[in-house]
């Protein structure tokens, strides 16, 4: 049977009305959808003004030669190319990775120990939790200034304890004056400050694991190590990934500790990217180049975040 064009037109006109995407969205949002747009508008404006615009402007500035008080001159990718071959920048990149991964790895271990101890039958648990949170709560500048004094060769308390009180060393150590000890010192302060965040996050995760799972594992003959590996770790896996991700980003961008303790010295041995950015921006006043330094590692960090986020989602779907 054939259908004429006119009949086809009539059937189409009588059939279900086609909906555009906006109509569908409006139905989904309900009768007050216009008001909804109004409510969300301040947030959108704020995000665009305070995040998107500065970020895009920063990208633009990184492609310019920009000195303080002088209009920018577009130079394309010159700043990025120059940085790629700059020995000082390369050293800062290497130092940043040593600082970040050295610090995050130890914070992970210490945080886990802290969480396990606090979930055990320890007495005054709340008190110890509070005490261990102090480094995380204290302002970083205050902590760093205290450590500057602690690490001082001749007037610092650390050398005094090691040499004069406990007689462990014949003479003091130049904690901030030798490349190796200086890097170890700044990493140490970052660990001291950051491990409670790991611990308290893991603690929350551990409390969410049902006790029955441990009992079942024990019945099956699993010892403490096996229970930790097959019950505890899978139970806090997502928290572990999030915490590591956040800590990696924060540590990579940590400025205060290194700047206050060493300013990137001695001889650039603890120069990390945030301090390098700061020096190029405020010391050299090359704002375009400084922003290029800050943005240079953005793709690498973004890749880490994407990979970890994807890994986490996969874990959740299993």
């Amino acid at each position: 049977m054939s259908i004429s064009t006119a009949e086809l037109g009539a059937k189409t006109a009588l059939g279900p009305k086609r909906e555009g995407p906006l109509v569908g969205l409006a139905r989904m949002l309900g009768p007050d959808h216009r008001l909804g747009y109004l409510f969300i508008l301040p947030t959108v404006v704020l995000v665009l003004a305070l995040v998107a615009y500065p970020f895009c402007y920063a990208i633009y500035l990184s492609l310019t030669r920009k000195y303080v008080g002088v209009p920018p001159v577009f130079v394309g990718f010159d700043n990025y190319v120059k940085l790629t071959f700059d020995g000082f920048f390369q050293r800062a990149v290497v130092n940043s990775f040593i600082f970040t991964f050295g610090s995050v790895a130890v914070k992970l271990v210490l945080g886990m120990v802290m969480a396990l101890v606090l979930t055990s039958g320890i007495r005054f648990r709340s008190f110890w939790t509070g005490v261990l949170l102090i480094p995380w709560v204290a302002p970083t500048v205050v902590s760093a200034l205290n450590f500057l004094w602690i690490f001082d060769y001749s007037l610092g308390v650390l050398n005094y304890m090691l040499v004069k009180v406990f007689h462990l060393l014949p003479q003091g150590v130049g904690w901030l004056s030798e490349p190796g000890t200086a890097m170890a010192s700044v990493i140490g302060v970052n660990i001291w400050r950051g491990f409670p965040f790991f611990g308290i996050s893991f603690l929350a995760g551990l409390r969410a694991i049902p006790a029955e799972m441990y009992e079942a594992a024990a019945v099956d003959g699993a010892g403490p190590l096996l229970r930790f590996r097959h019950v505890t770790l899978p139970g806090i896996r997502n928290i572990l990934i999030i915490v590591m991700l956040l800590s990696t980003i924060w540590t990579f961008n940590d400025f205060q500790i290194v700047y206050i303790l060493t300013k990137g010295g001695p001889g650039g041995a603890t120069q990390v990217l945030p301090v390098f950015t700061y020096e190029i921006a405020f010391g050299a006043q090359r704002l375009g180049e400084a922003i290029a330094v800050a943005l240079y590692m953005l793709p690498a960090l973004a890749a880490v975040i994407i990979v970890l986020a994807r890994y986490m989602r996969q874990g959740r779907s299993r």
Partner: protein, 452 residues
């Protein structure tokens, strides 16, 4: 909560009005209130006084800061204006300037350090008239001040005072050993330090960091000049590993040797910041050190037992002479200011000789002269230690010497290039020659970038 909003909320609760109507009316009430507040704010603003934003340098000499603030407020009261004073010190002043200039919101007037006019020239006003008037009434500027403030024939800063460094010696230890103040670093300071130090008691002969700091940068700059070298030649071109290679190599070798070979410095000296030598000297751990007058002020003001046992002498020199980097605090007026005339008036008021003398006297040697007539003030003869301060100021030379003060010279200094060069030898094990080449490459790069 506004009573009208409360009424609306109650009506909504009781179902007298629809949610949409509530939102519409609430928006009208809120908007009306905001508009009213803005109108009130404008009315209030129209009645306020002229406000001048003044940024000052917060020095370690707190008595000087107090006098400075008092004098500015007196001026403001006299002129019936409001002076909004903000302070910045060594670690944050340049950052504040950079941020304010880039945000298009600099102060009207600021007290800047010697490199300020060069760093912020693009945002500063030409103050040649007021600078010239003040200088001519005081016998003219000292050469270093004129050179540092005048760029392309115009003044971008009005000189105020010079805060120089001098060489501090523990007079009691020196006299006990029957020694005289050293006039050169090698062998003078080295031998002096060896003879006076007692490492077993934690007393070291010399305390001078080569770490990233104003103290470290200043020393490295001076020591290169002392050996006849420097980072720049007389035309302002890079000279670190070219024109002055041999001289600079000897100077660098000497500087690192004080730590690695001569062992006259405390072991932790490469980790020092600007205050570390002050603390070590006042703790009795150093026989000699280089520092500004603030250390002497701190000892005198606190009636520290070492104040009377401390001798201030001229900074030691080297084979080519004795050089000291200049300091010249100055007033700069920003282009954006709508009150340039008021700012100039404030400068003239503050630089009045009586007022400056009041500031100078409480600063215990820190506010050194930048004008010829001020060198004749009897105050500088009131303490034997002031002679070294005066002489060091008069002979000082600005960054970039023997060439002009250039943006590249300022940046090389600000980027810790010279201290990093020394640090790479002391801590990273580079040979002096390799460190010199590395630093020269950086100087060249900065020079090219600034020229382009």
């Amino acid at each position: 909560m506004d009573s009208r909003l409360k009424d609306l909320a109650e009506k909504l609760d009781t179902g007298l009005i629809a949610r949409r109507e509530f939102l519409r009316k609430a928006a009208v009430v809120t908007g009306g209130t905001a508009a009213g507040l803005q109108a009130l704010s404008k009315m209030a603003g129209a009645q306020s006084q002229t406000k001048l934003r003044v940024w000052l340098f917060k020095s370690f000499v707190t008595a000087g800061n107090d006098v400075l603030e008092k004098q500015i407020q007196n001026w403001a009261k006299d002129r019936k204006v409001t002076a909004e004073i903000d302070w910045a010190t060594f670690g944050d002043r340049e950052q504040k300037f950079v941020a304010a200039i880039e945000a298009g919101n600099p102060p009207d007037i600021a007290e800047m350090q010697i490199l300020g006019p060069m760093r912020y020239k693009a945002a500063l006003r030409d103050v040649s008239k007021v600078a010239g008037d003040i200088a001519s009434a005081r016998g003219g500027m000292l050469p270093f001040a004129d050179k540092a403030m005048k760029l392309d024939g115009k003044f971008y800063g009005v000189p105020r005072y010079s805060m120089t460094t001098v060489f501090y010696i523990r007079k009691d230890i020196m006299e006990a050993k029957g020694l005289k103040p050293p006039t050169v670093y090698d062998p003078g300071v080295v031998e002096f330090a060896r003879k006076t130090q007692d490492v077993s008691k934690g007393l070291y002969g010399f305390g001078q960091t080569l770490n990233r700091s104003d103290d470290g940068n200043g020393f490295m700059q001076n020591i290169l000049w002392n050996y006849g070298g420097g980072a720049w030649d007389k035309d302002g071109k890079p000279a670190l590993a070219t024109t002055f290679r041999d001289q600079n190599l000897k100077a660098l070798q000497f500087a690192v040797d004080t730590i690695t070979k001569q062992k006259i410095q405390p072991p932790g000296v490469m980790g020092w910041t600007d205050v570390s030598n002050n603390e070590a000297f006042m703790a009795g751990n150093l026989v000699t050190t280089n520092n500004g007058a603030s250390l002497y002020y701190a000892m005198v003001a606190k009636k520290h037992e070492l104040a009377s046992k401390t001798l201030l002498v001229l900074t030691p020199g080297g084979p080519a002479g004795s050089f000291v980097g200049s300091s010249c605090y100055n007033w700069g007026i920003f282009q954006k200011s709508k009150y340039a005339d008021l700012c100039e008036d404030m400068i003239r008021y503050m630089e009045d000789e009586e007022r400056f003398a009041e500031y100078m006297k409480v600063s215990v040697g820190q506010a050194g002269p930048v004008y010829k007539k001020r060198t004749e003030n009897p105050y500088w003869k009131s303490d034997p230690n002031f002679n070294a301060i005066m002489q060091n100021i008069i002979r000082s030379v600005p960054t970039g010497y023997p060439g002009p003060v250039t943006p590249a010279a300022v940046e090389v200094y600000a980027q810790n290039t010279l201290t990093d060069m020394a640090g790479r030898v002391v801590t990273a094990g580079l040979s002096p020659e390799a460190a010199l080449k590395e630093a020269h490459a950086r100087v060249e790069e900065i020079y090219k970038a600034r020229r382009s």
